[in-house]
Symmetry: D2
Subunit: 341 residues, 4 copies
């Protein structure tokens, strides 16, 4: 049994708590949150204990692994403490909004040698993983063109926009990671065009809510990513990979399978109203993969290096959006064997 502590009892913290409680190889010991009432509420619902002391969380005698789901600006510090304590960590993205700071803590954690997994949970979507398996099998040939669609139903609150790092760092970063993971390669340059269409106020913060990114891979293969903050039709996520000999798609998910015909029209169930309904199973799957790393020694499925590289792309993309110019992507030089696989 791996003894886990959870840091952060917000919305995503609660999702992780339920998965920690259900996993057969996890002993869900402890919850910490700056808002202690929130920690207590989650702890009591899942048979864990709420603590007011971060020291307990990082006590190696009681805890084997920590799940860091606290606010973004605390990720790096928590990771550093885990490294100091020799405790494994599963950390929500991003490692740190500042790429240089992120790089420092990654180097720190790597020196400490603790297993760390970054929660790029979309890699654990059943359909995305099946698509990647097909691509990697070679059955569509060498990758030539990839299209990714990331469209959420609702604009985030303006308060969130201010601290999010922008659409490309906050939303599109998942798809930068998916592009690397699917292609098994690091893009060399990026161009982004964007607009603030759903909520023009966000342009005051230099942000956009509708954007189109073009990445070029070392082979010349092209990747398009469209990112939208607010659709009028629910949550829409898709991937399409064209290779030299075929195409594979991970299609959008319908919320149901009912269709009605009348006159010359057909009416069917649309998409899930919210993103969580689609993405929900990926959190448990990501956690399971991390537990396999801890218990069976399988490679960390999403490394700190993966986290840094996706951030590096997001930084270059943000620079392109602001400058209107194609940007070469500079990857931080972390000594790492963690090539995308």
């Amino acid at each position: 049994m791996q003894r886990f502590a959870l840091i952060g009892a917000g919305f995503i913290g609660a999702v992780h708590a339920a998965n920690l409680a259900l996993h057969p190889d996890i002993d869900f010991v402890m919850v910490y949150d700056v808002d202690h009432a929130r920690a207590e509420s989650i702890a009591s619902a899942h048979g864990a204990r709420a603590t007011q002391s971060p020291d307990e969380v990082f006590d190696r005698r009681m805890i084997d692994a920590v799940l860091i789901a606290s606010s973004t600006d605390t990720h790096a510090d928590n990771l550093r403490r885990a490294a100091d304590a020799g405790i494994a960590a599963f950390v929500e993205k991003p490692i740190d909004l500042d790429l240089a700071a992120a790089h420092d803590v990654v180097a720190y954690a790597e020196r400490a040698g603790i297993p760390v997994m970054v929660d790029f949970n979309r890699r654990f979507d059943r359909d995305h993983a099946e698509l990647r398996r097909i691509v990697q099998s070679g059955s569509v040939g060498d990758v030539e063109l990839v299209l990714l669609t990331s469209r959420g139903p609702t604009s985030p609150p303006i308060e969130y926009v201010k601290v999010s790092g922008g659409q490309l760092r906050d939303q599109t970063v998942h798809f930068f990671d998916l592009a690397r993971w699917i292609c098994g390669a690091d893009p060399v340059e990026v161009f982004v065009a964007g607009s603030a269409l759903a909520d023009p106020r966000i342009s005051r913060y230099g942000d956009v809510d509708t954007s189109v990114a073009t990445l070029k891979m070392p082979t010349g293969a092209l990747v398009q990513i469209d990112s939208v903050r607010r659709t009028g039709y629910g949550y829409d996520e898709r991937i399409e990979v064209m290779g030299a000999s075929g195409l594979v798609e991970s299609r959008r998910h319908a919320a149901g399978n009912v269709v009605r015909y009348g006159g010359i029209h057909a009416a069917a169930d649309g998409l899930h109203a919210g993103w969580f309904e689609r993405v929900r199973p990926t959190y448990a799957a990501a956690l399971s993969a991390f537990v396999s790393t801890l218990t069976e020694g399988t490679p960390v499925p999403v490394t700190l290096d993966d986290g840094l590289k996706a951030q590096a792309i997001a930084d270059a993309a943000t620079a392109s959006l602001r400058s209107g110019l194609v940007q070469r992507i500079h990857y931080p030089s972390v000594d790492s064997r963690d090539e995308p696989q």
Copy 2:
């Protein structure tokens, strides 16, 4: 070039006329109809000649083949004349509403040795033919269950109902033929339940507009056919064949490929408003197959025996509908090598 005469210049006659005119190996010579103005109209549109003399139609010196699309009660006589003249015939179904009469004229035509094809045009639907190819290839295993759906958009006029022979002989007969053709076997018994729901007046004529037929094949395989005269959603035709190791479907056709998402709903193009839009290409394909028989000596693709057998099933089905009892199907003993293939 095969010199064709067309008998019958109604709706289906006009369809055949256009196909006769376009076929590269057909010389479309002549049109006859009891309504001469109608014959003239069609003839002039396609560079053929209208005649008022049936003798010209059956003049072997001018005509190689006759396409019989006149009213049902004239099919047998026209077939007999073709046999007398040694002229090939392509005949609309049914051969004769009376099975015994049909049997007589079939025997007559077979003695004369003329090539005759019955227009079970649905065998020439691209999707149905592909489905049958898959079934015959063995890739779904031995056939165990077949579902056929035959649903037209509009109830026929009551005047037509009176002379049509009833839904099972007029509409379902095409699907009795498809069942034989797909399974490569003749059903041994049939049960039918039906109701007059769309137009209760037709029950005065012993007819129904909504019916469900169950056939049993010699192997025990089961066939279900649902037949509907009037849907509220266009023309719906489908086939589904379950074998021991898989399933194959020839799906309904949408009228277009546009879909709209809004809120939690999706709205798409429905089905074709009318049956003809779906079935149109099958007429030219059936005619082409007949021309191949005439010019290359390929086997007649739908024989008189096929026509008789489908009628025998329709007769037994009608008897079941009226009696409420399962009926064994008695096939007329025509000496024939035309086993379903």
Copy 3:
């Protein structure tokens, strides 16, 4: 909190146990099984207690409701004991394989006045429920034709076949219930044809594994149900309802959303390999509905009368299969307000 005891710790018992443990308004107290080790295993996994004494299960001071998931031949006795104790019951179908015996215990339970729900869980499938909502809203018009498809992936063991009551009572009965529930009416007659194709041995027990049922509703509307024990392509369940003005379908579920194109072919995820993956969520939904009955006094969603009526149809269907004749369906006269809604 409703205090529940579970009787029966087999496969379905384990499913119920997990749902009992997760439901926020249920206190999962106790498990009983003739195989005590099995009871203990399930109890310990969910924080309940295994008991060797049926008396404890029916002790009104400790238990508010009992979930009867034991073997079919014990359902009636357990229901009788619940009635004696004044304990609510949620009972797996069938009530009793013998319709007269089932009728007796239903009358007994109704006299006792305990709330009893029969687990026709498919009514709680999200898509089926949405289909019924659309039908009941009138937006497809009066029901004229219903098609139900029930196809499992694997033939049951021959030992199970012997005691199952036959395909129609064991498998198709769920769909007899769905037909009543969707149409809001009781069928008046039934005809069934069937064959033993997948496992011919079962014909020794008078059973079939591939069958086609035709039901007639009081309005003349027709219902077709095809039931298959062993497909070669996974679990396939569908409903299609044609009304006077349109059609609504609850379509088969794909196991994934990945499609690959290459050459002139497309390859996609097929169906779920097993029935449980498709049906899983319905058990929790059914249990929730029962809890609403207990806590909020909402009507019992699936009554004993519903259970009896579905069995009556299954009995008539079995008689039709054996006799080859259409059977009128005789419903047991239970004094009941539980008309299908």
Copy 4:
């Protein structure tokens, strides 16, 4: 009856010839081609006359309209001659590969006042037109994001690549036109990334075969177009328009409607092997629209100005591909009322 002459008897000329012959309001008089034998072959197949004299083609006493389907470098001259003769013209795109030259001949034709239609035939695709109708109706809200996919099955011969003007001017230009037509607005800037992946030889001519274009509309709406010369899975053309309140798609077309299930897989008909099968009906529809202009005075559906503007976008796109920079699009100032509608 409009008397038409056809110039050019190549592949597309033959397609037009068949449509000219079938149109009820067209008298198909004459065919001219530099290869007279080719002209004669097409003329005789459709009851027209082959001429060796271009003077006859532009003889106003015999001809009302000319369909220009000759090689690209002759379009402008033929258009000029039609203008001189006062004969209406239906011209294949592009008007001239050189935008300035195209501009000159457009001004010339507009001064002459003859009706001229450019054959952007994809506007006449049933599904694309329905998509545009929905967009224009406002039912998906203001356009925010448009995705167009243009993927052909086969790389063109290298000889063709040299004279084609490049992928963006030859292939993508149709989709630049569709983008203007759907949005009812002219894009202001364009960025293109591209690679020569299928046939690296074409990079010697400065061309690519896989490209991704991003356009920005005056409102900030974004348009993505991916263009591929050689897929491994047939012809793939799609449009997707996201507005503020919904999404509408014109989906790819399958070549058939057959699907097979076996094990955990489904296999279906893929896409059309070639582009022509998909696009075929649009040529006749475009011609019909032009005939309506000639006979009923309806507005020219695709004007010379539309042709020029699409070329202007293609020119800017080509400049972006070569420079790696975003390009503003400069539209030629033709005095015109022909705003995109």
